[in-house]
Amino acid sequence: MRIAFGMINHDKGEIRINGLPADLRSPRAAIKAGIGMVHQHFMLVPTMTVAENVELGGTGKYDERQSADRIRQLSDETGLTLDPLARVSSLSLAGQQRLEIIKALARHARILILDEPAAVLAPAESQELFTLIRRLVESGRSVVLITHKLQDAEQYADDVSVLRHGKLVLSQPVSEVTMESLAQSMLGSARMSARPLLQKAATQPRRTSGDPVIRLENVSVERISSPRDLHNIDLDVRAGEIVGIAALDGAAADLLRVIAGRCKPIAGKSTTPEKVGFVPEDRQHDALIGEFSIFENIALKDIGRRKGRMPWSDIRRDADALIKSFDIRAPTTRTTARTLSGGNQQKLVLARELSDNPVALIAENPTWGLDIQAMADIHARLRVAALNGCAVLFYSSDIEELVDLADRVLVIRNGGINEVERVAETIGNALLGSSPSSQIDS
């Protein structure tokens, strides 16, 4: 898709748009050819207004009123409601996404590429997004939707293509595929036989036992990256238990950092073990140092407390063993972390955090942006960790994942936390309050 948007140039072959060969050697050329792209990580200037972001890169004079009118007109036409004069930093994620789409449409895009558009949205918000996408399609535009969620593809697409290991393995109208056949083609045939031991361990019944390993009593957490403070949080996680947290807009982020010992609570008593692993949501920003090699990234564990000499040869040996046992695909441990795929990066983070057999593991959206094979892998690892007596607490923006992986589910809403039944609908309703539609941010 980055080739289609001119960000990377293709090595071989020809690109045709509407049957005519197209020369897409830069994003500029791609936009000229009528292609618009909404990246998974938004490409917006937060300090500028909506209108300014739309006009960014244009030529000539910038006329705020004229541009605002144009955006309003586009909004009316497509149903993408946006205030043209709002500052981007004040928009919700859903709002920023609408802006990205408007931006592409304002440049007369006929073909819209959306990279994992639902990844950052709450369930109700993504529902709304897909309705909007349908409207765009009905107005004669084409949409390419990249998603790792099979349901989304099955529900909203007309045709579906599956890429695996750099090859096109399936390309059919949606009416001719089933969820099973999609999953099969994404995973390939070797999927179940790959690591039977891991699979077996993962399905074994676990025993949760004894006193809680993590215990929060009346804890209050100050807002740093979450949208609001949390107050009077009570929470227990026992050894061998997997507890999931559901929250909107990263409301759990600061709480998890407190539990992982990375921040201090502002009130209350938080009992967490000294030996705790932490898998942050943004692995490239918070967990790994891209320019560092694999073994250096592994050496980051507890480096804050280390003194004296770095025993590099021991560290490299341990790293070698670790990448083997976690099946991290890399030529050597000298490979830099940034060249690894997302799934391998996440496995590296998990391998590091589990390397000293921690008493507890805290994970934030542990499978965010991963394909389903990597996702299954991470899930199996977490289950094995729990089986070995680790208390696992994770946050996920994916309700399916909570239902799948967790033994118990907690929901954060309005600055408080509640345990709910492990059923997708119950969790969804608890997240959005009694009337889900009123919660949709516009």
């Binding site: 990580h41 507890d302 000499r309």
Partner: protein, 313 residues
């Protein structure tokens, strides 16, 4: 050129390289930790000033051991000067690029004032301090040249610095904090603020040491044009060495050869010594060009947000 003259020239080159290596290390360490300390010049001047003041004040009572006291004093003074920028950065998020460059000017004018005021030589004719007594000078290590023991100190500092960066936990913390402070804090549980501050002070100390070594090894007095911009050339020295302390020794020597050689050329052949500056600048441009070409061909990074996109028109 006679053999003796060649020997003297080689000595001059190494003498010239000494402050470049020390300040180059100061810059390399700071840059490795993500601190853009371009104030090595000011830290060097303050180090030199303090060192001169200490020697003039206590030289007679302490005798030969004054050199050690004064070198330590000069380093501490450099660190103290850097501490101003470090505190401004830690407390008020003042960009160190701005604060250190401003502090360079302040340091220059402090020297200017002192050599015309409190520290001026007794006759009050020349804008400089009294000349150091012989016992307060660094010993010459190569007879027939001006090469002093400070050069050995610089090389030792380079080797030690390399060991710290590559083989110690503190050095690893420093590099981690410089490459990705967020991951350093969250994954490594590093106190990034403290690490940064310590590195900043150490960087200042190295530059201050360079100043003190100049006083005791080369100039034997404090005056305004003590440094022909060592602290600025240091940035080129460090960048050319890709911030590796061992390579800083090499690039420091290279620039030392270039500058001392240019002076000799001007003296003996009438070729303007500014040629050396032109060559230095060309080298830096070439290094930058090579670097950016290498980046162009680097493998695509994992995240789309890392990918630079051409402006969209």
């Amino acid at each position: 050129m006679s053999e003796l003259a060649v020997l003297a020239l080689v000595g001059d080159m190494l003498v010239r390289a000494t402050p470049l290596i020390l300040t180059g290390l100061a810059v390399a360490f700071a840059f490795q930790a993500g601190i853009l300390n371009i104030g090595a010049e000011g830290q060097l001047l303050i180090g030199a000033t303090c060192s001169a003041a200490i020697t003039l004040q206590f030289g007679e009572t302490l005798g030969g051991s004054i050199i050690i006291v004064s070198l330590i004093g000069g380093s501490l003074a450099g660190a103290g000067w850097a501490a101003i920028a470090a505190e401004l950065r830690a407390r008020f998020h003042v960009l160190e690029v701005i604060s250190t460059i401003m502090l360079n000017f302040i340091a220059l004018y402090i020297v200017s004032f002192l050599v015309r005021g409190p520290l001026q030589e007794p006759t009050h004719i020349y804008p400089q301090t009294e000349t150091m007594p012989l016992y307060a000078r660094l010993p010459t290590i190569l007879p027939g040249t001006r090469l002093h023991a400070g050069f050995v100190l610089a090389v030792l500092a380079g080797v030690t610095g390399w060991w710290i960066l590559q083989h110690s936990a503190a050095g690893f913390r420093l590099r981690a904090a410089g490459k990705n402070s967020s991951a350093a804090r969250i994954a490594g549980q590093i106190d990034v603020g403290r690490t940064t501050r310590n590195v900043f002070l150490m960087s200042g100390a190295l530059a201050g040491l360079a100043g003190a070594v100049e006083i005791h090894g080369v100039t034997f007095a404090l005056y305004e044009n003590l440094s022909p911009g060592y602290g600025y050339t240091a940035i080129a020295v460090a960048l050319l060495a890709s911030l590796n302390p061992l390579l800083v020794i090499v690039t420091g020597l290279f620039f030392g050869v270039l500058e001392a050689g240019a002076n000799a050329l001007q003296r003996d052949a009438g070729i303007p010594s500014t040629i050396a500056s032109v060559i230095e600048a060309l080298i830096i441009l070439a290094v930058l060009a090579v670097e950016s070409i290498r980046n162009l061909h680097a493998p695509q990074p994992g995240s789309p947000s890392d990918t630079p996109i051409a402006d969209l028109t």
